[in-house]
């Protein structure tokens, strides 16, 4: 696990984070630089989030594949909690929801952990869907039936199924990398790109943003942000292609482009849901709970596409 490329990647991330933290602290101590103090605060709190993210990931990676799958499972569980809390459900959905939370979600992650791609790729989209439809019908409440079942399915697919493709990367048989280190680098590559794309989207929208994609859904996501984020993320992916084992240069670049576009789409989608429910973010829904869904929305959309692109361009079979 400790080969040169891993060391280079870890060192690079540490240096970047440390440098950024130093800059952030400097700007905080010297408010006379003409920078917006609110922006500095946002920057610093983002940095704190990245330190936490990197620490948690490092601990999970060090503990191994099972610990990482469990970590993602817990994140999914919490995100689904937020999703369903925000979604109005009726009493007739209660039993179906119980099984969704305590049977389908854990079982899906067990299948991911056991590396059963053949089963987990259909388990939630087919079997959980059929179960939810039937269980709600059996409960005898037919009011807005399709709408209610669709909400539960959307929550399951976005929060659980899609996100689980990230830890599923750990089970891919990568050529030449040996199982272990290479897979963790690939997963970290994805997480890094998603975070970077999110950040770039914000920066480009702030700097050049003119044309909003959908003003009624999001007041800060612009076409310029999308384009800028896709370009910069492609460039970063190209610069880091050596860290992601199965990729050649053009494949890594393509992955970066797709991750940025999908991440943007994920953010737009969650904004639409939040606008419909009249909340600003999932964190303010219930005070004291961090809003996990706000943090992982881009990841949920990017992970499955990244996974399948990896299969497609490298010819690896799971």
């Amino acid at each position: 696990m400790t080969d040169n490329r891993t060391i280079a990647l870890v060192a690079g991330v540490l240096v970047l984070l440390t440098a950024a933290t130093a800059v952030g602290q400097f700007l905080k101590r010297h408010p006379d630089r003409g920078l917006d103090p609110a922006a500095v605060r946002t920057f610093n709190s983002r940095l704190r989030g990245w330190w936490i993210l990197c620490t948690v990931l490092a601990a999970a990676f060090w503990l191994g594949t099972t610990a990482t799958v469990v970590l993602f499972g817990l994140v999914s569980f919490w995100a689904l909690r937020e999703f369903i809390t925000l979604t109005p459900t009726r009493k007739g959905d209660h039993r179906a929801l119980f099984w969704v939370f305590f049977a389908f979600t854990p079982l899906h992650y067990v299948l991911v952990g056991l590396d059963r791609y053949d089963v987990f790729s259909v388990f939630l989209p087919v079997y959980a869907t059929l179960f939810v439809l039937a269980r709600v019908a059996f409960a005898g409440d037919y009011k807005r039936f399709l709408e209610r079942t669709a909400k539960i399915q959307a929550g399951l697919v976005v929060c659980v199924y899609c996100l689980s493709f990230a830890p599923a990367l750990l089970a891919l048989p990568l050529p030449g990398a040996g199982k272990g280190g290479g897979n963790f680098r690939l997963l970290f590559f994805l997480i890094l790109l998603v975070q970077f794309a999110d950040c770039m989207q914000y920066v480009w929208s702030r700097m050049l943003g003119q044309r909003l994609v959908a003003p009624s859904v999001s007041s800060n996501r612009t076409w310029e942000g999308l384009l800028g984020s896709a370009t910069s993320t492609s460039l970063l992916a190209a610069a880091l292609w050596w860290a992601a084992p199965p990729f050649q240069l053009w494949q890594a670049t393509l992955a970066g482009f797709v991750v940025a576009v999908m991440g943007f789409a994920g953010g737009m989608t969650m904004s639409a849901i939040k606008r419909d429910r009249g909340v600003k973010d999932y964190g303010t829904l219930v005070v004291g709970h961090g809003g996990v869904l706000d943090r992982i929305d881009s990841m949920c959309f990017a992970a499955p596409v990244f996974y399948h692109i990896t299969l497609l361009v490298t010819g690896i079979r799971p």
């Binding site: 909690r81 009493k91 209660h94 219930v286």
Partner: protein, 235 residues
């Protein structure tokens, strides 16, 4: 002895009560370390399962004697409010709960009697000479806080129903107690009426500023004011 004191206090008007020696708690309850540990575990489990976050709005947790009154939506209500209090406050707070529910089954009975030390009220057998309010005050003594649900039962529609008069008599007999409005949000979706398996959604418990019975305030006015105080915490 303690019983007699609090019964006497009941007969007096609020102004006179202050001159009397405060009623004594009937028995010092010494719980085994096992039950205390179970209490800590139960509180943590309840908070985790119900995703409960506590908000104190213009109000602070305190071990002074209080009555927490809340809207009632689920069997979990008393447990989750109790669990949302800081540990030192939780030690001196006793939920008032329905006897029929909390004594059916050995586990529930053990939890109610030994772990969170509930005051169980028999809803089917309310007599004039043994009113629930007297029982609550006797059990609370001069140190325990209470958690009560003035609606008397869980609301079906999710709307907060009219308050029963118990809260008024409680305030009239012990005007020194702080009445803390509590609003419970979303817990009815965690464990709705008639279900026994919970769904782990996120809920929110809001504690508001204390209120007291004003001198000469009419019963209906007071109950409406108390209900509005709970509803005001909804935002």
């Amino acid at each position: 002895m303690a019983t007699a004191t609090s019964q006497d206090a009941v007969m007096l008007s609020p102004a006179d009560t202050r001159d009397l020696p405060p009623p004594q708690r009937p028995k010092a309850r010494v719980r085994s370390p096992f039950c205390r540990a179970a209490g800590l575990g139960l509180a943590a489990a309840a908070r985790l399962l119900a995703g409960a976050s506590a908000r104190w709005i213009a109000s602070q947790p305190d071990t002074c004697q209080r009555v927490y009154f809340a809207n009632h939506t689920s069997h979990l209500d008393a447990l989750v409010i109790w669990a949302s209090l800081p540990q030192s406050v939780r030690e001196v707070t006793r939920p008032v709960a329905a006897k029929d529910y909390w004594t059916s089954g050995l586990v529930r009975r053990w939890l109610a009697e030994e772990v969170f030390d509930a005051i169980l009220i028999d809803r089917t057998d309310i007599k004039v000479h043994q009113s629930p309010v007297d029982l609550m005050l006797r059990e609370a003594g001069n140190s325990c806080s209470l958690i009560v649900f003035p609606e008397g039962g869980r609301s079906v529609s999710g709307e907060i129903g009219e308050f029963k008069s118990g809260l008024y008599y409680l305030a009239k007999k012990r005007p020194d107690l702080e009445l803390i409005p509590v609003h419970i949000d979303n817990l009815n979706r965690v464990l709705p009426r008639g279900e026994f398996l919970p769904v782990p959604l996120l809920s929110c418990i809001s504690f508001g500023p204390p209120l007291w019975l004003e001198r000469g305030e009419a019963k209906l006015d007071f109950l409406a004011r108390a209900r509005r105080a709970v509803m005001a915490l909804k935002e």
